[in-house]
Amino acid sequence: MAQYIKKVDDRDEDEYSPFLGIEKGAVLQEARVFNDSQLDSRRCSQVITKLLYLLNQGETFTKVEATEVFFSVTKLFQSKDVGLRRMVYLIIKELSPSSDEVIMVTSSLMKDMNSKTDVYRANAIRVLCRITDATLLTQIERYLKQAVVDKNPVVASAALVSGIHILQTNPEIVKRWSNEVQEAVQSRAALVQFHALALLHQIRQNDRLAVSKLVTSLTRGSVRSPLAQCLLIRYTSQVIRESSTNNQSGERPFYDYLEGCLRHKSEMVILEAARAITEFNGVTSRELTPAITVLQLFLSSSKPVLRFAAVRTLNKVAMTHPMAVTNCNIDMESLISDQNRSIATLAITTLLKTGNESGVDRLMKQITNFMSDIADEFKIVVVDAIRSLCLKFPLKYRSLMNFLSNILREEGGFEYKKAIVDSIVILIRDIPDAKEIGLLHLCEFIEDCEFTYLSTQILHFLGVEGPKTADPSKYIRYIYNRVILENATVRASAVSTLAKFGAVVDSLKPRVFVLLRRCLYDIDDEVRDRATLYLNTLGGDGSVVETDKDVKDFLFGSLDIPLVNLETSLKNYEPTEEPFDINSVENIPAAGNKPTALGAQPPAPASTVDTYENLLSSIPEFSTFGNLFKSSAPVELTEAETEYAVNVVKHIFDKHVVFQYNCTNTIPEQLLENVVVVVDASEAEEFAELATKPLNSLPYGAPGQTFVAFEKPEGVPAVGRFSNVLKFLVKEVDPSSGYAEEDGVEDEYQLEDSEIVAADYMLKVGVSNFRNAWESLGPEFERVDEYGLGPRESLSEAVNAVINLLGMQPCEGTEVVAANSRSHSCLLSGVYIGNVKVLVRLSFGVDSSKEVAMKLAVRSEDESVSDVIHDVVAN
C-alpha cells in the first residue's frame, strides 16, 4: 500500500516538474533573452537554471553552442542583480571556456574581485582561478595575496582553496604567498584555518624539515577547527613515519600530542588520532591501548557512521595485532546483528581474525544465521576470512569445510560461488587431511552447478588431484554424470578428466575405456574428438598396461606458451604444405599479461619445479643427475637497470648442483655470443666443476640461459661461496636494420657472488598437525641443545633469522611473534635432501639487554640429519 502511494506521488511530481519536456534546442533559443537590452533578471536566472539542469542531466553542448551561450552570458554582467550574478558565476564554471574566451570576462571578474560585496569577491576569486591561465594569474596575483588575509572568512577561504588548485599547475606563484598563508593559519575562523593549513602543507610538502617544523609549532595547540586538527594529525603521522629511524630511543615523537587528541571534544579528531596511532610502524601494545579503548567506546555509539569507522579501524588492527583487539570481542559480537550490513560484515571478519581455536565452532554457528541475509559481496569477504582462519587452524578444517560446503549449496551469484570454490581448492592444497572431504564437496557441487566455468575448473582440478587419492574410483560416477547431463563444454572437460584417471590409475583403465567409448557417439564434435584422442593415446585396447611417461606429460603437462602468443601465431599461419610448428611460438609472455590466479590451477611453485625439471632433463649433460630435489627462487646477481641482467637459480640434486644463469641483454645495439659464466669455486672446497653449457647467442631483450654444473659429495650438506664473471663476445648491431657486424670483441662483466647455504638442502613442506607428526616421529633421533644468539634487534627478528637459516616451513602460524612478548616457541617442518622428514621445535627467550637464547629440538627419520640441523645452527 505504502509503495503504491509513493508511486502515485512520483507521477504527480513528474507532472509538476518545471523541467518536464525540456529540450536543448528550445533552451538555447530562450538564452537569447541574455542579449535583450532590457534585462529581465528573473527570466535570465531561470534560463541559466535550465541550462545547468541540462548539463547536469548529461546533456553536452557542441563547441559552437557553448561559445554562443558563453558570449551571451557575459552580457549579464551588466545586471546588478545579486542572484543572477551568482548564476552567471556558476554557468561560467560549468562551461569551462577556452583561454581566448576567458579574456572576455576577466575584466568583469576583476572588477567583482575588488567589489565591496563579500559574496562577489569570494565567488569572483573562485571563478577566475578556475578558468584562468598562468599569464593572467600574474596579473591578479596581487589581489589574491590580499584576499588570503581578508577580514571576511568566506573571501579568505575562497582565495586559499583556489590557491590549492593553482598549486597543481603554477606552484611558483602560490609559493610566493607563504607569509600570508602562514598568517591565515592563525585565523580565528575555523575553516580559514583548515584551508590555510592544507595549502601551507602542500606548499612545503617536498621539504621534510619545513613540514616537521610546521607540525612542531602547531601541535603546541593553536588549531581550533576539528577539520584542521584532522589534517594536522595526518601530517604528524607522516612526520613520525619519516623520522622512524630514531625510534630506538624508546619514546615516539609527537605520541603525546596524538594521545591528547584522543580526548578531544570532536569525535572526528578522536577517530583520526586513534587511526593514526594504530597505523604506526611497529606499534607497541602500550601505545595501542588508549586508541583501542576509544574505538571500543565508539562501537556502541548510536551513529552508524561512527560504529562503522571504529569497526573498520579495528578490523585493520586485527590483521597485525589480533591480541590487542580481543578486548573488544564482546562488543563486536553484538554488532553481528547490526542493521547496517557493512558494519556486521566487518565485525564478523574481525572476529574471525581475533578468534582462538576453541571459539571457532561457536562463531561459525553465529555466522550461519547471518549469512542468509547479506549481499553476495559481503559473503565473499566472509568466505575469504574463513579461508584464512582455516589456514591458521588446520585442525578445524572439518567444521570450516562443512560451513563452506553448506553455503556452496545455497543461492548465490557467480563471483560468490567462485570465491567459495577457490577457497575449498586452496584448503585442499594446503591441508592434506582435508583433501578427500573437500573433493567430495566439490563433486556434489558440480552435480547441480549452473556455471559452466566453475564446472570445468572443478573437473580439471579433480583430474589432477582425484587420481592421487586413496579411492579414486568413487569420483568416476560424478564425472561420468557430467558427460550424460551437461552442456558440450562441460562434457568435453569431463572426458579429459576421465582420461586423466585412466592414465594414472591403472586398475581403473578398463572401466574408463568403456566410458570413453560411449563418448564417441556424442553429438558434439569437441567431445567426440577428445574421446578419440584419449582412447588412442592411452592405447585403448582395454588391456591393463603401465601408462607411458610421454602420455602423462601430454595429459598433465601445462602448456608453457602464453595462449595469446599461440593465438597470434595461429592467426598469422597460412595454410601451406609446411605444418604449423608450435616451437616457433614465442615463449615470452606479452607484457602486462599476467596469468590469472585461478584457484583450480595447480599452485605456481609446483609448476615451476616441473618446468625446471623438464628443462634440465632436456640437457644431455645433466640428464644423468637423477631427480631434482629443489630449485631455489631466482637470486639477482646484478643491480637493477644495468647493461646485462643476470639472476641465478640453484638446482640441487643428490650428488650435483646446477647453477642456471638467466641472462637478459638490455642494450639494443649489442648482440652477445658464446655467453658463459666463469665460476671460481675456490671458496667452496667440496665442489668440483663438472660441465658448462654456454649460451650461443643472446640478442637484445630475449632472455637466455647458461648452465654450470658441480659435483659434490653425496649426503653432505656442502656449503660454499662462488664468484661469478660473465664472459661473452660482443657484436655491434645496427638498430635500424637489425644486422650484427661480423667481428666481435671479447668482454667480461663482473657479477655478484652466489652461495650455497644449508637452507638449499631443505624443502619447505608443511604438516597440518604438528603434534601428531612430532609424536609419530618418535624420540629416538631427537637431538636437543641450547644456543645463545647474542643481542638482537627484536625477538621476531631473531625468530625470522633462524627460520631463514634453516629454510623450513613454519607451522600453525608460529612464525608470528606477539609484540612485546619475552618468549616464543616456533614449530618448523621440512624435508631434507634424500627425502628425510624433519621437524623442529624452537623455544626462544629474550632478556632485558636483548640477548636472545634459543632451545632447539630436532626430530627426524635419520640420526645424521638431526645432527646436521644442529651443525647448521651451531655454525
Binding site: 509513493k6 516538474s17 547536469n56 542572484g83 548564476m87 552508524p304 557493512s342
Partner: protein
Amino acid sequence: MVKNVLLLDSEGRRVAVKYYTDEWPTYSAKLAFERSISCKTQKTNARTEAEIVMFDDNVVVYKFIQDLHFFVTGGDCENELALATVLQGFSDAVTLLLRGNVDHGEALENLDAIFLCLDEIVDAGMILETVGNMIAGKVATHNLDDGAPLSEQTITQALATAREHLTRSLLR
C-alpha cells in the same frame, strides 16, 4: 578530499550531482555509479541517522529525507566523520532553503538554490563549508531578493508593467 556529492530521488534518478574526480570519466559511468549506489542503499533506513557503506573502495555516507536521497562519497582513507559532516551540512542547508518542504518537487522548483548550495559546500574536492546555516545563508542572499519584487526592477521595466496594467484595465 570529497569525490562527489549527489542528490538523487527515491528511484535513483538525478536531481543534482557534482563530481570532483575523474574516477567516473564518462556520463554513463557516473550514471552507473548513481544507479548502483541507490540500489544498494534502497532498503536501508537512513532517515534519522546518516548511514554509511563501502562501495568499490569508496566510503559513501548517505541520508534520506522524504523522497530525496543525499550522498557524499570519499576515498577509503577518508575520515568517515568528516564526510558525514559534509553530508549533514548539505542536507541541513537544503532543508533550510526549501523551508522545510523537502521533497522532489520542491527541490526541482528551487533547483537554482540547490546548484548554488552544491557550489558552496565543496570546491573541486576541497571542503568549503560544513555548517548548514552558513551554506544556506550564502545561497539565500539572492533568494530573499527574489521575493522583493519592485525594488529591483529598473524604471523602464516598472513603466512597462504599469502600462500593461493600464491597458488591461482600459480594455475591460
